[in-house]
Amino acid sequence: MNDEVVPAGEPWMGVVRRGQSLRIVDLEGNQAVDTLFYNAADTAEHYSAQNTIQAQGRIYLTTGTVLLSNRGNPLLRIEEDTCGRHDTLGGACSAESNTVRYALEKRSMHSCRDSFLLALAQHPQTSGGALTKRDLPSNINFFMNVPVTPAGELRFADGISAAGRHVQLRALIDTLVLISNCPQLNNPCNAYNPTPIRVMTWDNA
């Protein structure tokens, strides 16, 4: 059993072996957790938001959703979800997208993509350029509420998560996990107050 608290604005990387479970707990509520998954044995294979929503015919992720790779293979399955639904359209914040979304002067604020890039540059399995910005496709935002209207509008709504809610996934292959505990201060995705999460992994009997 691995059990860690990840402060707001920090990344977390680790391998979840086939058959193991990964649980992410929203400790204080309304915290966006930007997450990517890679095939640990061949990291050119990674989570695909479009393949996942295409296969299940719906945009929200919840219990029963199978996360598919860019090659169409199952990576993980969501086995528990006490939040209700999770976003995979909103992507990760970056310094550059912050200049567009909020103000040119926001470039220096911390962002998920900065966390992703530093984690990839420093983790023993991905340092030295094995995984780079090139390997950052559209991610999952656990606990984030991004409703789409029938008229085709995208909204960033107040969160539907709350303190103590969790999502739990079962790895279907050995999976490299890349998490950014989102530092965004400019929109309601974190209720304007980024907070810690708990990341747990364990073997199943």
């Binding site: 015919g57 359209l89 567009v100 090139r134 029938p150 509008e153």
Partner: protein
Amino acid sequence: MLWEEEIPGGAHWSGVLRRGVVLRLIAGGDDANVAALFYSREQPLERYNMADTLKAQHIAHLTTGCVCYSDMGRILCSITADSCGWHDPLCGLTDAAHITSRYGATRFQEQRNQRYVSGRDAMLVELGKYGLNERDLVANINFFSKVAVDEAGALKLAAGHSRAGQYVDLRFEMDTIVALHAGPHPLATATRYAPPAIRLQARRGTPPAADDPCRVRCPENARGYINTERMYLP
């Protein structure tokens, strides 16, 4: 008109569109679909970003006035005209397994160039011509397809959405590698693989003025143009 070319149904295409050029995509038949990806010609690591495009403009569909953002806060191209009204940025590509299970197995040996090509295979071929591979194959746009999302989040492809002759104009704001596949939408329910051809027409455009509809659509786009124009300052 600078040039004109046709992508036969099922075929793929790529090329470089320079800043200032307008590319018109014209549906060659009803229920057309063309998958599209965009990369900076100068540094292809900068590429179309679905999420940044959607969240900057608060949209889940593309039409006139919308722009296609790169992951670096810049605008690769702008939609300056659209007689179709809705293009799908959500649903992705078909792959070989999908094509075979829906339309049947084909090989060049028997079907020659009428074989059924998948979206993923088409893009891997075109990207490969620029030294790009599956690591660069990010979320794409499906022009001419409408996929609405209901209150529960279910995706529904609108039947009969696009008509022969409808067009969409892309004004390029950066020198851009464009990869296209005139293949079926992944949610299409037809049992026959018969995607319409797509006609391409390139012409010289006029630079976006201060009151350009794409620029003034939202404050986010105004900043996206500033980021883009700064890169091209002499």
